[in-house]
C-alpha cells in the first residue's frame, strides 16, 4: 500500500515523463525544429515568418495535447471499467461505446460532413450506446457484472455489424478516411479543448471516490458493509467512464489498447490502490499516446500511420513481457 508521500513522488515522476513526451512531440516530425526554436515558439518569441513557429503552434501542439487528453481519458476509463466490472480484462470499449461512436462517425462521413460534424455524430452515437446498455442492463432493476458485460458485448457487436454495412455501401473515396477513424487517428482533430476539459472533470469526479472504489473492487457486499453507497457509486463510475470514453473516441476515433494495457501496466508497477492508480494511469496513458502518435507520424514520414496501429504494436509486447515477469514473482 503506497503512502501519500510515495504516491506524490510517483505522480511527479509521471508528470515529468508526460511533459517530456509532449516536448518530444513538438520537436520531432518530418521537419525537424530545433529545441531552441520550439521554446521560442511556445513563449511567443519566435519570428512570425519562421515556418517552425507555425508547425509547432498550429500543427504539433494541438495534436500532442489531443493525444495526451485522449490517452489519459482512455486509460482512466479503462481503470474505472475494470473496477466496475471487477474484471482486469475490461476496457473502455467493452460496453459498446466505441461501437456506437463508430456508427455515428461513419454516418457523418457518409453524409459528407467533416470535422465538428463527425465529432458531433460520434458523440451522439456514443451517448446512444451508453444509454442503451445502461437501460438494458437495468431492465429488471438488478445489476450484475455479467449482465452488464453481456449487454455491452451484444451492443458492441451489433454496432460492428452496422459499421461493416456502412463500409460496404460507402463510396470508395470515403473508405480510407473511415478506416483511419476506426483505427484511431489524431491527424483530424477538430478541437482539443473538449477532451482536455473532459479529462479534468473525469479526474475531479473519480478521485474523491478512489478509496471507495478500492472497496468496490473487492466486492459489492463487503463495500456496502464498510459504508459505501454501492448503487450510487456504480452509476457514477459507469457514467464517468462512459463519458470519458465518448470524449476520447469523439476526438480521435477508437484508439485501441491504451484503455486495457495502461491500467494493467500501472497496476503491475505500483499496485491496485485507486487513489494512486487513477491519476497515474491518466498520466501514463497520456504520455504513451503522445509518444505513439509522434512515432506514427515520424517513422515513415511523410506517410502517417494510424496511431491505433502503433499503440497495439507497442502495447502488446510490453504487456506480455510484464505479465511474464509478474508470473515469476
Amino acid at each position: 500500500m503506497p503512502t501519500r508521500r510515495r504516491a506524490l513522488l510517483v505522480l511527479v515522476l509521471l508528470a515529468a515523463a508526460s511533459l517530456a513526451s509532449l516536448a518530444l512531440a513538438l520537436a520531432l516530425g518530418s521537419i525537424a525544429v530545433p529545441p531552441g526554436a520550439v521554446f521560442a515558439a511556445l513563449l511567443g518569441d519566435g519570428a512570425a515568418t519562421d515556418p517552425g513557429v507555425a508547425i509547432v503552434l498550429e500543427l504539433r501542439l494541438p495534436r500532442a495535447l489531443a493525444g495526451f487528453a485522449c490517452g489519459g481519458l482512455l486509460a482512466l476509463a479503462g481503470a474505472l471499467m475494470q473496477v466496475l466490472l471487477r474484471n482486469p480484462l475490461a476496457d473502455p470499449y467493452v460496453l459498446g461505446i466505441s461501437g456506437g461512436a463508430g456508427v455515428g462517425a461513419l454516418c457523418a462521413m457518409l453524409l459528407g460532413l467533416a470535422g465538428v460534424g463527425i465529432a458531433g455524430f460520434s458523440f451522439l452515437g456514443a451517448l446512444a450506446a451508453m444509454l442503451l446498455v445502461f437501460g438494458l442492463a437495468h431492465g429488471d432493476g438488478s445489476w450484475t457484472q455479467t449482465r452488464l458485460l453481456l449487454t455491452g458485448v451484444v451492443v458492441a457487436s451489433g454496432c460492428g455489424a452496422v459499421v461493416a454495412l456502412i463500409l460496404t455501401v460507402a463510396p470508395e473515396q470515403k473508405i480510407h478516411g473511415m478506416l483511419f477513424w476506426l483505427m484511431g487517428d489524431l491527424s483530424q482533430v477538430a478541437d482539443v479543448a473538449p477532451a482536455l476539459v473532459a479529462l479534468a472533470v473525469a479526474l475531479a469526479i473519480a478521485l474523491p471516490c478512489a478509496r471507495e472504489l478500492n472497496l468496490l473492487a473487492r466486492g459489492a457486499e463487503q463495500a456496502l458493509a464498510l459504508g459505501v453507497a454501492v448503487p450510487a457509486l456504480r452509476r457514477l463510475v459507469y457514467f464517468v467512464a462512459a463519458l470519458a470514453t465518448a470524449a476520447a473516441v469523439t476526438t480521435a476515433g477508437s484508439i485501441g489498447f491504451i484503455g486495457l494495457i495502461v491500467p494493467h501496466l500501472v497496476r503491475l508497477a505500483i499496485g491496485n490502490d485507486q487513489r494512486l492508480l487513477l491519476p497515474a494511469a491518466a498520466l501514463a496513458g497520456g504520455a504513451l499516446l503522445v509518444l505513439a502518435d509522434t512515432l506514427a507520424r515520424s517513422i515513415v514520414a511523410p506517410v502517417q500511420l494510424p496511431v491505433g496501429v502503433l499503440t497495439a504494436l507497442i502495447g502488446v509486447p510490453v504487456f506480455l513481457y510484464l505479465l511474464g515477469r509478474g508470473a515469476q514473482r
Binding site: R86, P88, A217, A225, N272
Partner: protein, 259 residues
C-alpha cells in the same frame, strides 16, 4: 432492552417464496455471543445479511445500538457493525496488509490516508490471526484457510461493536477454528462487543456462545440460551438426522454426535 447492541422485534425475513423467520424477537447485549444454526438453505446467511442491514426485511423493526440502519446512515453503521461474508474472490492482486487495512475505511475521512496507527491496528489483527510475517504476501497466492483468516483480520481491523460472521470457520483447520473462536470470545469480553455467527457445529455453539438461534426453515425458529436450546431433540429436528447427547468426562459441556 435499550442497551442492546442489536435488537429485533417481529422481524420477518424471506428469500423469494421461502420464509427464513416469521417473527423474530432478538436482543443482543454487549459481550453476548449468538450462534445461528440451521440446515443448508434455511436462510442463515440471508438472516445475517439482513441483521447487517445489507438487505431489507419484509416486516418488523431492526435496531443497531438503538437506531435503525436508515437513521445511522451507511458510514456510521459501518463503524458500529462489521460483517464477514462467505465470498472470497479477489480479482486483483492485493497484499495481506492491504486486505486487512480495508477495515479502516469507515474510520477515515474522504481525503485522509491510513496513518501509522491504522497500520498498527491492521498488523495486530494480522498477527492475531496467525498471519504475522505474511503482510506483504499477495492474497491470491494464499490457501483458502489463510485467505479466510486475512478476511477475519480485516473485520478485526474494523473494530466494530457488533460482529456478524457468516461461517467464520470455513476452510479453517481445527486449531485455527478454536483459536478464532477464542479470539472472538476475548474480543467480546474485553471491549464489550457482541457477536452473531453462523456455525455448523452445535458443539462449538454450545462451547463458545451464550445464546443460540435455530432456523428450522419454513419460517420457524427457536432462540434462547445456548445450553437450553441446544439439546438432542431440537438438533435432531433441526438437521433431520438423529443426534445423541454424550456427557464429556471432565468437560463443562455435553457433546452431540450424529447417530
Amino acid at each position: 432492552m435499550s442497551d442492546a447492541i442489536l435488537s429485533t422485534r417481529a422481524l420477518a425475513v424471506s428469500i423469494g417464496p421461502h420464509k427464513v423467520c416469521a417473527s423474530l424477537d432478538l436482543d443482543l447485549a454487549p459481550g453476548e455471543r449468538l450462534a445461528i444454526l440451521g440446515r443448508n438453505g434455511a436462510g442463515k446467511s440471508t438472516l445475517l445479511a439482513t441483521l447487517a442491514g445489507l438487505r431489507a426485511a419484509d416486516a418488523g423493526t431492526l435496531r443497531l445500538a438503538g437506531k435503525t440502519y436508515a437513521e445511522h446512515g451507511l458510514p456510521t453503521a459501518a463503524r458500529l457493525r462489521g460483517w464477514l461474508g462467505q465470498e472470497r474472490g479477489d480479482p486483483f492482486a492485493s497484499t495481506v496488509l492491504e486486505t486487512a487495512m480495508v477495515g479502516r475505511h469507515p474510520h477515515l475521512s474522504r481525503w485522509s490516508w491510513e496513518s501509522g496507527a491504522d497500520a498498527e491496528i491492521a498488523r495486530a489483527a494480522i498477527a492475531a490471526m496467525g498471519l504475522a510475517g505474511m503482510e506483504t504476501r499477495d492474497v491470491q497466492t494464499l490457501s483458502g484457510g489463510e485467505r479466510q483468516r486475512a478476511a477475519i483480520a480485516a473485520l478485526l481491523t474494523q473494530q466494530p461493536r457488533l460482529y456478524l460472521l457468516d461461517e467464520p470457520l470455513a476452510h479453517l483447520d481445527l486449531n485455527h477454528q478454536i483459536a478464532t473462536l477464542d479470539l472472538l470470545t476475548r474480543r467480546a469480553q474485553d471491549d464489550g462487543s457482541a457477536l452473531a455467527m453462523v456455525l455448523h457445529d452445535p458443539n462449538f455453539a454450545l462451547r463458545f456462545c451464550d445464546r443460540a438461534l435455530l432456523l428450522f426453515g419454513a419460517g420457524e425458529h427457536l432462540s434462547g440460551p445456548a445450553a437450553a436450546v441446544i439439546d438432542a431433540a431440537n438438533l435432531s429436528r433441526l438437521y433431520g438426522h438423529p443426534l445423541r447427547r454424550i456427557e464429556a468426562p471432565g468437560g463443562n459441556h455435553p457433546i452431540f454426535v450424529p447417530e
